[in-house]
Symmetry: C3
Subunit: 253 residues, 3 copies
């Protein structure tokens, strides 16, 4: 499994660099810069407006849409409806990142509604999936969630679990620094969204993106003296990630 997924990840990452998909991001104000830089380093082209007057134009011209629920203010709320309508009408795939929904019940409710609108992938950590599913996010619960919502669940943590309900992948790459820098998870979902833009099989796209990010995190951590230099090294690493590093380091089951 490791070798297969690693091979697909290398191919898709190369395809992403070649196609340079446009990824429109409705994302929180804390992580916009890191998210844009991760996308640029990977070869994608980010845009970030959350203005209701403009977002329709940006989504319409994009290859994928990211919906991240952090710092969800009025503009983002209004922009979201327009963005999802344009995405549906134009057949643009979208990905959901329900940030911190365990901390705010209205945000959790919003996320539950969004999960039923066919995001290609939902990427979150265990606490966020717990709030989304309103139950322990076991592998079985995530399978059911994926099947019920015709989506892929990507639950990240020390070991990432990706499931379509029919298929599961566990990815044991990454580094502890990834939890010590704000926005790494958010940027990871944005990268995943860029993979979805170039690969129709969401399960493969999600697993490949998490593998690439996990390996990049490991390589970057070796060059870093702490979370500050890690964030810098992560961007450098994504921009020049060696396919062999992906193949050699992949720990997928």
């Amino acid at each position: 499994v490791s070798a297969d997924l690693a091979t697909r990840a290398v191919e898709l990452f190369a395809l992403l660099r070649e196609r340079r998909p446009r990824v429109h991001c409705i994302t929180n104000s804390v992580v916009q810069e890191l998210t844009a830089n991760v996308l640029l380093a990977a070869g994608a082209i980010p845009s970030m407006t959350t203005s209701p007057e403009e977002i329709g134009f940006f989504v319409s011209g994009a290859d994928a849409l990211l919906v991240n629920l952090g710092t969800f203010d009025r503009d983002r709320r209004d922009a979201l409806d327009i963005a999802l309508e344009v995405a549906r009408d134009d057949g643009i795939p979208w990905v959901l990142d329900p940030v911190f929904i365990e901390r705010s019940e209205p945000r959790a409710e919003l996320a539950r509604g969004l999960a039923q609108k066919e995001p290609r992938v939902v990427r979150a950590n265990a606490a966020e999936f717990g709030a989304l599913l309103q139950t322990e996010p076991t592998a079985e619960a995530l399978d059911r969630f994926a099947l019920d919502n015709i989506t892929v669940a990507a639950c990240t943590g020390p070991i990432d679990l990706v499931t379509s309900g029919a298929k599961r992948a566990r990815i044991d790459n990454g580094h502890a620094f990834m939890g010590q820098v704000t926005g790494i998870g958010c940027a990871e979902t944005a990268l995943l969204c860029a993979f979805v833009a170039v690969e129709d099989d969401e399960f493969i796209a999600a697993a490949a993106a998490l593998l690439v990010m996990g390996v990049a995190g490991e390589v970057a951590a070796e060059r870093a003296g702490g979370p500050g230099s890690f964030a810098v090294a992560l961007i450098d690493t994504i921009a020049s990630l060696d396919p062999d590093a992906i193949r050699k380091r992949a720990k997928v089951t």
Copy 2:
């Protein structure tokens, strides 16, 4: 005094890492990322929404609240009232950072009103305290301000002055790079807020936080080639600051 405060700072910093307080930040859009990364590096857990619909939930689940007046837009204005109400009802300590109030009279007025609502600490530079007090921010004027408002004044600059009216500490740590990177002062107030979350004596919490930040700035500056690498090194340094560095470098009177 140096040895005593340094000892308390080391203890509180260790306590902060152990307890991992949640710090909700109403802060300006320019400095959200740096602020979050300083808090994470110190061991605290930041959240940053300024949405009126959600902020009550976040403040209610937080251990301390930061109110920073930079880029004070409509959402922040509405969110502030809710946040302060929840903080008062739930007994959550809060800290005020009246950024740039010397540049905008309405913002200065807002800050003057907020100073009377019992923030545990007000952290600002001399120009900002000048606008807040509407007089020269001498040590005596800051004492009076602290006593009148039942708060602690933390006036930062080349030498930081912390006063409760009854007690004063002067901290002569830090580095010139700290004034050349946007948001260092804002992030310092956020760190101070995290110390307030774990220590009831606001005077000690404020002085300890400024000492830790000052020492971290000195250590980081030794590894930096300019303000860009300084900001990166500062995060690395906070994440792994040696208690001995705090004890040895502390210059407190």
Copy 3:
């Protein structure tokens, strides 16, 4: 030409460091931090509020105003009118950066209207100038645009072209990393705005700023291992740029 412009750039950069102009930035939320840090590294003093209630005070106290159309939300829309009115009344020069207008027709229309309100300089890339001019942005078309609007056009790319209609400069400095980091173009316009604050001849100010940024980019790239470390090195480089590097590296025709 190279030697002349390089000499002027060195003089103006020294003047900027001495005068420390205040630059108020209406800019997008993605690039605020980088923009502020580039301005601080160059010696200018940034402010960034987009609150309609406050922006008049900030613009009134500023030496130049930047109008960047990225993430143009409601607050920015309302703030813009006030900011431009204050700038006109107080004689404060302003500079336009019509980010990504090729992706949104309403934003392009807004930019076309703004271009007629006498910005000292319009800085954009070729795609953005294409949308602004509604024709191929050839040197001749840019000349005409500058003359028609009594402004200076600064079209950046692998080779930058600056034209007042009467005079043209081409600057062949810079590095590919500059296109791989979000906000470098936006920060460059902010730096240009700081040069406009200290030099009445907008053509000279614009060409000098682009030369300084281009040279800084080349120097920084030599120290960088990728776009992440490049962004850090760029700030360090701007903060300590050697006048000799400007003179020796300038490629202006």
